[in-house]
Amino acid sequence: MTAYVVRRVLSAVLLLLSISLVTYLVFYTIPTNPACVVVDCGPGNHTTPEQLHAAEHLIGVDQPVLVQYGHFLWRLVSRGSLGRSFTGNESVTAIIGQTLPVTASLVLGGAVLLLLLAVPLAIVAARRPRSPVDRGLLAAAIVGIAVHPFVLAIGLRSIFARHLGIAPRGGYCTLLPSDGCSGPASWAYHMYLPWLTFALFFLPLYMRMIRARVLETMGEQFVIAARAKGVPESRLVVSHVLRNTMGPVLAMVAVDLGTAITAAIYVETIFGLPGLGHEAVEALAGAGGYDLPVVVGIVLTIAVGVTLLNTAADLAIAGLDPRVRLGAGKGLLRLPRPVARVARRVPPRVAWAGAAAVVAALGGLLAWNATRSSGANAGAAPASLLSGPVQTLPAGWSETKPLEDGQMVFRVRAIEVGRRGWLVRGSVENRSRTAYTIAFGRNAGATAGFSVLEPATLGLRVLPATAFRPALPPVLAPGGRWSGAFAGTSAIPHGKFLYVGFGYFLPARPADESSTPLLARDGFNWLTTHTFRVSR
C-alpha cells in the first residue's frame, strides 16, 4: 500500500511535468505571437517594433521556450505562482481559484446524477436483454447524444426556465453562504439544469456499459449459486451483481470526469457558469492569440483532477474487490526496487498522511498565492504601451468570412475604452457579388456590433454607436469598403466583458417587395465576435 502511495505521487509529478512541457511546446509551435495579446499587431496597425519588443519582454516571451518553461517551474515551486494572465494581468492561481469550484460542482454533481440515472436504468434493461424494454431504453438514451449537448442545454433551459419558470436562466451561486447569491439552496437551484444536461450527455454510454457488465456478471457461477440458494432477486442484484460491476464503472467515471471539460465547456457557456471551461474558451479565443499562462493553469488543474480521481477510483475498486492489491505497479510506471523495498517497511497510514500533507502544502501554497495576488492586478499593467487616459484593449485581428458568393473581410485595428465612452477603429470590405446591409455598431434597439455581456444574466446589453467617421453607407455594394472609426458614449464598467462583433443583413431586398418592413433584427447574422475583459 505504501508503495502504491509513493508510486501515485511520483507518477502524478511526472505526468504534470510532461503535460505542462507539452502544452508549452505545442503552443509555441502555433504561429501566432503571444505579444499580440498585449499590443496591436494586426494589419494596418501603428505598433512600432520597439513597442512589440517591449510587449514581448513584458510577458516574457522573448526568451527561448525552454527558458520560459524553466521560469514557469521555478515560479511554481518557489512562490506557488502559476504566473499572470497575458491579457488581464491577473494571477492565474486567482483565476483558477474562482473558476474551479464552479466546474467542480458541475462535474461532481453531474456525475452523481448520472450514476443515479444510469444504474437503475441499466439494471432494468439488463433484466430482459434485447427485449422491447431494453431497446426502448436504448433509443431514449440515444436521444441524449443525438441531439447535441448544446441543443439539449438550450432546449432544457427553454422548457424549464422560460416556459415553466421553475429554473433560473443561468448564472452561478456559491455553495458556501456569503454575501449575494449563495447558500446550498440557491446553489442547487442554479445547478440542477446543468447537472441534468451533463448527465444526459453521458447517460447512453454509461447505460450501455453498466448493462453489459451486469449481463456478464449475471452469467457468473456465483450468481447462479446464489440464485439456487434462494437469495431474493433484489438482494442478488444489489449485493452480488452490482458489487462486482461497479469497480470498472467507477474507474470509467474517474477517467471521464477528468476529461469532462469537453462537456463542461458547452454546459458552462449556455448556462452562464463562470467555470474552467468558460475560462478556457476565453483564454483561447481572445484577440490575436491565446493566453498561455491561463491555458497551462487549466491544463494542470485538469491533470491534477484526473490524478486525484484515478486514485479515488483505485481505492474504491480495492475496497469493493478484495482480490485487488494496490502495489508498486508494473513496467515503466513501476517503482524502482530499492524504493519499493524501503516503502514496504513504512506503514500505509504514515504514507497516506505524508501524501495528504504534500497535497495540502501545495494547495495551501497556491491558495496563499491566490489570495495574496488577487487584489494587486493593476500593478504591472503595461502602462508604458498605452497613451493618455484611454485604455487600449488588445485588438488587431482580421477575419475573412466565407459568404455564399465571395468573402467579407473584417478588420479591427484598435479598441479604446475611456471613462466616458469607447471607440473602435476598423474596416469592412465586401468581396462578394451581393450588396449587403452592414450592421457595424448599429443604433440602439437593434442587435449591435458592439455590446457588453453581463455574465450574471447572460443578457446582451447593447451599446449604441453614436458616431461614424466616415458615415456608413446604407448598403455596402459588391467590392465596396468602409474604413474608419465608430464610437459610443456608454461607460463600460470595470471587469465587464466586451463583445466586439460585426454582422450583416442578407440579402438586401428592395423595400417595396415586402408588405411588412424588414425589421432591423430580422435577417441579422453574426459573422464574428471577439471577447474582451475590461480591467482598469
Binding site: 510532461s18 503535460i19 507539452v22 505545442v26 502555433i30 434485447r130 436504448l138 433509443a139 440515444i142 447524444i145 443525438a146 441531439v147 447535441h148 449537448p149 448544446f150 441543443v151 438550450i154 454510454l205 453489459a212 449481463l215 456478464e216 452469467g219 477517467v255 477528468g258 476529461t259 471539460i261 469537453t262 465547456i265 458547452y266 457557456t269 449556455i270 478556457a280 474558451v281 483561447l284 479565443a285 491565446y290 491555458v295 487549466i298 491544463v299 485538469i302 484526473v306 508494473k330 513496467g331 515503466l332 510506471l333 466565407p402 455564399e404 442587435t447 442578407l506 440579402p507 438586401a508 428592395p510 417587395e513 415586402s514 408588405s515 430580422d522 435577417g523 441579422f524 447574422n525 464574428t528
Partner: protein
C-alpha cells in the same frame, strides 16, 4: 480473413452423416440474423449510407438544383426558411422579383436557413461528409490503437510500459483545448488538405484530429485481449512450429481481436458523428458552403464563440429537428447493429 481455429473443428468427423461444421463467421452471421431488430437496423444503416453517398447527385438531378445553391425566395420575407414540400421560385437573385411566370423548383424538406439552400440535399451531402469523417476517424484510431495495443500486449516489457505511459498521458491531456487553439489559428491551413479534391476541405484534418482523440480506447481493448491470448495453447503451438512473431500476430492473434474491435467501431462511429458536430461548434469543422450534420445543427445555434447567433424567428422546428433525426437514426441503427454483433460474436457472455 481466416477463421480462428478451435479445437472442436480440428477433430475428425465422428460419423459420415454428421453435419459439416460451419465456419466461425458463418455461425456469427446466423446468430446475427436471429436478432430481427439488429437486421432491421443493418438494413436501415445500408439505406442511410447509400442515400448519403449516392442520393445527393440522384436527387439533385431530379429536383434540378444543387445542395450549395442559394434561393433568395426559399425564405419568407423575414428570412424564415420555408417548410417542407415548398415550391420555390427557381431564381438565384432577389432582382427582379419573381412573378407568376417564374419557374419553380421543389424543396422537399424546405430550406436550411436564411440563405435558402435545399435542406433535403444538404442533409444528404452533409451525411456523406459526416460519415466520411466518422469512418476516417475510426480507421485512424483503430490503426493506431491496434498497433500500439499489439505492441504493448504481445511484447510486454518496455513497449508495454511506454504505451501505458502514453495512454495515461493522452487520457489526462485535454486535447479539446488544443483543438480550440488550432481552430482559432491554423485550422484554415489544415482544412485545405483534400487529396486533390477527393474529400471536401476539412474532412481529412477532422478525421485525423478526432482519431488522435480516440486511439487509446482500442489500444486498451486490444492490449488486454492480447495479454490473455498470447498465453493460449494455439500461440504456443505456432511458436513451437517455428512461426515468427509477425506471423503469430498477423495469422493467429489479429483474427481473434477482429470481433471486439468491430463492435467498438460501431459504437465509436456513432460517437464521432456527435463529436464532429461538437467540433463544428468550436470553429473547427467543415467550411461553408459544404455541409455536415454537425454544421447543419450548429447553423441553428451558432458556435461556442458566438452562440445563438440567429434570432429565433429565422429558425424553424424543421431545421432544428431534421439533422438531429438523421444523427439519431444513424446512431441508433449503429448501436443496434453493434449490439447484435456483440451477441453474435459472443453469445454466452454478451460481454465486451
Amino acid at each position: 480473413m481466416r477463421a480462428p481455429t478451435t479445437a472442436a473443428q480440428e477433430l475428425p468427423a465422428p460419423a459420415p452423416e454428421a453435419v459439416p461444421a460451419r465456419g466461425y463467421w458463418r455461425d456469427v452471421w446466423r446468430r446475427f440474423l436471429d436478432d430481427r431488430a439488429a437486421v432491421a437496423a443493418l438494413a436501415l444503416l445500408v439505406f442511410i449510407v447509400f442515400s448519403c453517398f449516392a442520393g445527393e447527385s440522384i436527387a439533385s438531378h431530379f429536383l434540378g438544383h444543387g445542395s450549395d445553391e442559394l434561393f433568395p425566395f426559399a425564405t419568407s420575407d423575414n428570412l424564415t426558411p420555408r417548410g417542407p414540400f415548398a415550391w420555390v421560385p427557381d431564381v438565384h437573385s432577389a432582382y427582379p422579383p419573381p412573378n407568376a411566370h417564374t419557374p419553380t423548383t421543389l424543396f422537399l424538406l424546405g430550406a436550411d436557413g436564411p440563405t435558402g439552400r435545399d435542406e433535403f440535399l444538404r442533409l444528404l451531402s452533409g451525411g456523406q461528409i459526416s460519415l466520411e469523417i466518422a469512418l476516417g476517424a475510426t480507421l485512424v484510431a483503430a490503426l493506431i490503437g491496434i498497433t500500439l495495443g499489439v505492441l504493448s500486449g504481445y511484447f510486454g516489457g518496455w513497449a508495454d510500459a511506454a504505451v501505458s505511459a502514453a495512454t495515461e498521458f493522452a487520457m489526462a491531456f485535454p486535447l479539446l483545448l488544443l483543438v480550440i487553439a488550432i481552430g482559432q489559428t491554423i485550422a484554415d491551413r489544415f482544412d485545405f488538405v483534400t487529396l486533390h479534391g477527393l474529400f471536401e476541405p476539412g474532412v481529412l484534418s477532422l478525421s485525423v484530429v478526432i482519431g488522435l482523440f480516440m486511439w487509446f480506447h482500442p489500444a486498451k481493448i486490444v492490449r488486454s485481449l492480447i495479454l490473455t491470448l498470447r498465453e493460449s495453447e494455439f500461440v504456443e503451438a505456432a511458436r513451437m512450429t517455428g512461426a515468427s512473431n509477425r506471423r503469430i500476430v498477423v495469422r493467429h492473434l489479429l483474427p481473434h481481436i477482429a470481433g471486439p474491435v468491430l463492435v467498438w467501431s460501431t459504437m465509436v462511429v456513432a460517437s464521432v458523428i456527435v463529436l464532429e458536430a461538437a467540433l463544428s461548434f468550436l470553429n473547427f469543422g467543415v467550411k461553408l458552403p459544404a455541409a455536415s450534420w454537425g454544421t447543419l445543427l450548429s447553423a441553428n445555434w451558432g458556435t461556442l464563440l458566438s452562440f445563438s447567433n440567429q434570432p429565433p424567428i429565422q429558425t424553424t422546428a424543421w431545421t432544428m429537428a431534421l439533422p438531429a433525426v438523421c444523427v439519431f437514426l444513424t446512431v441508433l441503427s449503429l448501436t443496434l447493429v453493434g449490439d447484435g454483433l456483440r451477441y453474435a460474436l459472443d453469445p454466452r457472455g454478451e460481454g465486451s
